[in-house]
């Protein structure tokens, strides 16, 4: 029984990391309609932001979480203004442009910060295990889970309970009509892109003490993030959450029963079969695209 609880928690922990890295992508993809292949590099930049702030200014992880949101968010805003804005409605071009951007960011970090793995400190208080319901769980993983839920709640409130969110939903449903009602769609796009990038930055900051920090770390994350978004259904916050949960528990459970290599292959196979029969994902909203 202990094993089962352990396994559920371990799946939940994988799910929380998946949710963190895919939340920003889901918002950018769902709202702005851009397939952002540089998303993994935004995650990587978040991790590097922590490393930089920690090694240069001696900041701890907590202030770094907030700062990395704003740093990577600002960069996202810049990218939207300079590149993405010129490519709306040209999906294939944005794929190429964001992929190129990802390569540039990766090499820029390699050239400036160096290619070696970087060390990010784990907060002392969170580096031990705690006992929850009779099982030992990593307190850092609990913390990650907590932050994931917090960011999810913030995002939900932002979209469904604020004036900005209302405009955002209007733009998603029909940009032309929204514009007729005086909504500044260009600004909404830029802010949403920045918000999505900022979330990726926080995700990178959060995983950095648990995993390794290197210039090419984003490559793996972008694949996971797309998998979650595709399975969950584009534009659906609920879908992203459910899909992160399912994929997390599934890959955790399969890895426990067999091994990580087979688990990865089986999960991919499952996703391929799923999108063959349900290309819109599990929880697709029915909306018109402008």
């Amino acid at each position: 029984m202990i094993d089962v609880f352990n396994q559920i928690f371990s799946g939940l922990s994988i799910a929380s990391i998946l949710l963190l890295i895919s939340l920003g992508l889901a918002i950018i993809y769902g709202t702005v309609g851009v397939i952002n292949l540089a998303h993994g590099e935004f995650v990587m930049l978040g991790a590097y932001a922590v490393w930089f702030l920690e090694s240069q200014f001696g900041l701890g992880l907590y202030p770094c979480l907030v700062l990395s949101f704003f740093i990577v968010g600002a960069l996202g805003w810049l990218v939207e203004r300079l590149v993405i804005r010129r490519l709306y409605g040209r999906v294939l071009d944005t794929i190429l442009a964001t992929w190129g951007l990802g390569v540039i960011l990766q090499q820029a970090v390699r050239l400036s910060a160096g290619a070696e793995l970087r060390y990010v400190k784990m907060p002392e208080k969170l580096s031990q295990a705690v006992s929850v319901f009779g099982i030992d769980v990593s307190s850092y993983r609990l913390f990650v889970l907590g932050i994931a839920i917090l960011l999810l709640a913030v995002t939900y409130l932002l979209i469904f309970r604020t004036a900005f969110g209302m405009r955002l939903r209007g733009v998603v449903q029909n940009p032309e009509i929204a514009r007729c009602f005086g909504v500044n769609t260009s600004q909404i796009y830029a802010l949403t892109f920045a918000y999505g990038a900022g979330l990726a930055g926080v995700a990178g900051a959060l995983v950095s003490p648990l995993k390794s920090v290197s210039p090419d770390m984003g490559t793996g994350y972008v694949v996971d993030a797309f998998m979650v978004v595709v399975v969950g259904g584009v534009q659906s916050l609920l879908g992203t959450v459910a899909s992160a949960g399912i994929l997390g528990e599934l890959s955790g459970g399969l890895a426990y029963l067999s091994n990580d290599t087979i688990a990865k292959a089986l999960v991919f196979l499952g996703v391929v079969v799923l999108i063959r029969f349900r290309p819109q994902g599990l929880f697709a909203l029915r909306v018109r695209r402008g």
Binding site: S10, I14, A115, M122, Q128, L210, M217, N259, D260
Partner: protein
């Protein structure tokens, strides 16, 4: 259409011409002979990636090699002849390794090339060295089970890393082992050896698992550690995965005093990236640690830091990259200038001894691997290893240890004894 056909024909003809030219390797070797006899200096190739995924570690190999070449030249060179390094960057890509190796061997006519970190890159250059009868000096510990006439291996093979390590772990911590490695040939061969030793000394394998290269999510693996309760986690995980595994191990509340990780691949470089607090209490077996106390090592570390900065780290791959240049120079010094060719250098290298930072090493005259001094180190929070135990004698390399009946002979052949 006609155009395309013609182009194909031309390509085919060019390919055939290339194959014919390549079929007469002795032409090239003659040229190499002449070049060496005429020039006063000795050209050697240096083939480590300075860019790409394995650039960090390979840069340290390049640095150690260049330092040795400079030292040898400063001390008067080889019988008064200077070593001239020709540096190429194969960019962590096996195909580029082969291309650059061809350039060094055919174009630059180097009499030996020092290079490679990964087994994949070594396998990629082998055909070049075999076809042109040149000599490759490979410094990395590797999985063994290779026997080439054209390679001098100065890194450890499984029997050297494990012969003392596995029995010591069994005696100190208990008999239940969990084998975890990255999913490629090196961990699988090492684990073969480990399983044979465990069988011999009454150990037991409670789990064996391979994770994809670059894997960074170890929660399921750690669950399995918890549920199977091994006494030792025998790790051959490589690269960034090492960092993720150690961090998640500690975060999950596991205790190195009860269930230590015993690694063949965790060096000072990996410890620096993960942070000493995550490595402390785990063990590594290798012939060299930066903290090893010997006059040769003190000199080596001081020179390395003087040249590459006070934070520079030496490790169990850069040390062989350093001493193998000296072994090469000693072999070359034995030969008169006129017959300085790769095959004669190889012959002269057999039995060469050198007082390396790890101790006195020797190239075996049969399998061209190297006698080394295995040590067991315990990682400290400082990022260095404390040496717990060291072999009382050098250990003979046996690349086919796990395959009874097979031996590597001087002809570069594997012989099967019935």
């Amino acid at each position: 259409m006609g155009n395309i056909t013609r182009r194909h024909l031309l390509q085919g003809a060019a390919g055939a011409a290339g194959a014919v030219a390549a079929g007469f390797p002795h032409i090239w070797i003659k040229n190499a002979d002449l070049a060496q006899a005429a020039g006063g200096n000795i050209k050697v190739g240096v083939l480590y990636s300075l860019t790409g995924t394995t650039a960090i570690i390979e840069t340290s190999l390049n640095q150690a090699t260049m330092m040795a070449i400079e030292e040898i030249n400063a001390a008067g060179g080889v019988n008064g002849r200077k070593l001239v390094p020709v540096v190429e960057d194969p960019a962590s890509d096996p195909a580029t390794f082969a291309e650059k190796a061809r350039k060094l061997v055919i174009g630059e006519k180097c009499v030996s090339v020092f290079g490679s970190y990964t087994s994949a890159s070594r396998k990629a250059v082998l055909p070049v060295f075999e076809r042109y009868h040149n000599l490759y000096w490979y410094p990395t510990l590797y999985e063994g089970r290779e026997c080439s006439k054209n390679v001098i291996y100065t890194g450890a093979v499984p029997n050297q890393q494990q012969r003392d390590f596995v029995p010591w772990l069994l005696k100190t911590f208990g008999k239940k082992f969990y084998l975890i490695g990255s999913n490629y040939i090196y961990p699988k061969e090492e684990n073969n050896v480990c399983k044979i030793l465990l069988k011999k000394y009454g150990g037991e394998v409670v789990g064996e698992e391979y994770v994809p290269l670059g894997h960074s999510e170890f929660s399921s693996v750690i669950e399995k550690f918890k549920s199977t309760g091994p006494n030792v986690i025998f790790s051959t995980v490589v690269g960034d995965s090492v960092v993720a595994l150690h961090r998640q191990y500690k975060a999950a509340g596991l205790d190195p005093a009860k269930m230590p990780m015993a690694s063949l691949t965790t060096s000072e470089e990996e410890v620096r990236a993960m942070g000493g607090e995550f490595a402390a209490g785990h063990f590594t077996s290798a012939p060299y640690f930066m903290s090893y106390d010997s006059p040769e090592n003190t000199k080596f570390v001081a020179a390395f830091r003087k040249k590459y900065g006070k934070d520079a780290v030496t490790n169990f791959v850069s040390e062989p990259a350093y001493f193998q240049v000296y072994l090469f120079a000693q072999a070359a010094a034995k030969l008169a200038g006129s017959d300085l060719t790769p095959p004669t250098i190889r012959k002269a290298a057999w039995g060469q001894e050198f007082k390396a930072p790890e101790g006195l090493v020797k190239i075996d005259g049969e399998n061209s691997h190297t006698y080394l001094w295995p040590k067991i180190g315990e990682a400290q929070t400082s990022g260095q290893f404390k040496i717990i135990q060291q072999s009382s004698e050098w250990v003979k390399p046996d690349p086919y240890w796990a395959y009874p009946g097979q031996v590597c002979t001087p002809d570069g052949m594997v012989e099967r004894k019935s």
